[in-house]
Symmetry: D3
Subunit: 135 residues, 6 copies
């Protein structure tokens, strides 16, 4: 049950087909998951979203791929996005997250949430030492 | 400006002093930041919070220390805890996060928030392939 | 599956019947959706909630009806309320939101979430020019 | 620094004066805190907001006054509203919340946040026994 | 559908069995709900989570048991954790929350959310009188 | 106080200068607010963020400019981003939002938050009529 109509044959639109082909080539898999199938309702939004995901998550960069997926998953949990939690748990596992690391990620995320709420409840002032601002 | 009274001499309480001593020993630094100074209003809450932070964040484990701090920071941003964002940015830098990694973490966290909201707006169904549940 | 018992015949209570009649008259439709059917467990809460919705959303005012529903939908996405996202997407469409506007709303909401997280991660100071406060 | 202009003499508007008088009479205090002073920019919004606060929070009801303020405070922490955390901590203390209860409230709120994130990360299915829904 | 594999026979692990036995003894019930069955994938996380829940929620303390569950429920609603809303509504009812108190809790939680958003939208300054900080 | 070092002379970097020049030209104003000054620490992140803001918010599209800013503001309030609330209140006013519309936006956003929490607390099932999904 979605707020959008999923198209029956999204790849009949050449812009959609080009994105789906790039997803398959980048991931070396024929599987296209639902976020892309539903985003096909608006080819511009589909192109922009995939383009940004590919640029930030699939390329070589300063943070390794597994860590990137674990950070993405942590944010998705905090924002209570059920679909995103599922898809990025799967992505993190595909990039090497072990069961022990999964358990530890859950421990870190939930501990962070705990102290986030504790600190917000206390409304404590910032320590001067944290100031990075030169202005 | 806090919702709690910060004690003038928190270490006159031996339970508080024991925690502060352990913080200094664990971090190899004399600096005690405000979260611990304010938590001193309740020694039990102070002991429990530090104990859990030390156990999850300071010990050898399946995820390296810098990655743990980056995950903690990501959650703190998503939960909009200003103090926590400052303290865990500092902690991640202290454990080796470079400026390039900091910029990339911000790009990942903000992209995750973007797709979290996009997916919540679309209310798309889960793909069966994500199911890890055997029950 | 709800945390409340849905009554079998809610309109046997005259206070509930009066609210349901007003919903039908205001919307020019016989359909009563589940939020009202479940709120019928407490007639006071039902009356207050419908009264406020009617006053803010159904009356002539400074913002046109379609825009009001799009703002309501945007907040519901940000607060991750699945039922609300569905019901207010339907309401916005009923008031004229086109598919192109729906796609653009999703683009705006997700971009806002992205920069919200980016700014919270950077903890940047307010520009003086934003100050509207005369005190 | 606010997004609104605070009026110099808000009580020159008789609708504002009537609300402020009722706040003073209800609270048996001459002090009017900033939420009401800023809401004076729109007398209708001021009247509605105070009316609802008075009805839910100030009247005799099924939950005692101190507990009501502690629930309000818990939500304000979870929603990261700094002003609300301050004002409702003060209100809960005014209604009898002790330091020990304050510490315990912070422990409960932060533990709830911890398990909220843990459960969202695990995406566990509902137990049938929780079902209250007869439909 | 979960992000974790639920073990077929979790109590074959003696650490898991010890926790489950303590849950049954503490609650005087044979029923073990899903959060514990899924947490069994990591005995350490299971032990820590149950230990903290038992310590904060099940023991005699400065706040009575029903109020503690209502505070826990309020936070779970604000954090949009569906499973937690179900389980802590059940727990609050088991500890004596009446239908009238349930309706009133929903009224308080939703009013708090309303003024949280209103105040965040206005960005009003703190009143000096709220300052508890002596530093 | 920020988590980043603000550069003394950001426009000495030609990539930063090009973005700042485009901001000035697009907005027909010499003023560059802090989000762009701080983002200058990473020219790639600056270019991407400005490019997306310009594309979504500054161009002719299916939703008029003032409505787009009001939707952006609504999300920023829900996500509790103080800087964003200030900057997008200013932007919405610059695009024509009147005081009456501002008051009404606050009423809609806070009412949406109220019913979001109410519905999440009730965990009501979706009405079949909301289903847009053909799959």
């Amino acid at each position: 049950m979605s707020t959008l109509v999923k198209k029956d044959d999204p790849e009949s639109d050449p812009r959609v087909k080009a994105v789906f082909d790039d997803i398959r080539a980048t991931r070396k898999s024929d599987f296209i998951n639902n976020i892309w199938r539903y985003l096909a309702f608006d080819p511009q939004l589909l192109e922009n979203t995939w383009g940004e995901i590919k640029s930030v998550m699939a390329c070589e960069s300063a943070i390794d791929g597994q860590t990137k997926e674990m950070i993405y998953l942590a944010v998705s949990i905090a924002n209570a996005c059920s679909y995103c939690v599922h898809s990025h748990t799967a992505a993190a596992k595909a990039r090497g997250m072990t069961d022990a690391q999964h358990a530890e990620l859950l421990a870190i995320v939930s501990l962070a949430a705990k102290t986030n709420h504790l600190v917000t409840g206390m409304q404590i002032p910032l320590d001067e030492v944290f100031d990075c601002d030169q202005s």
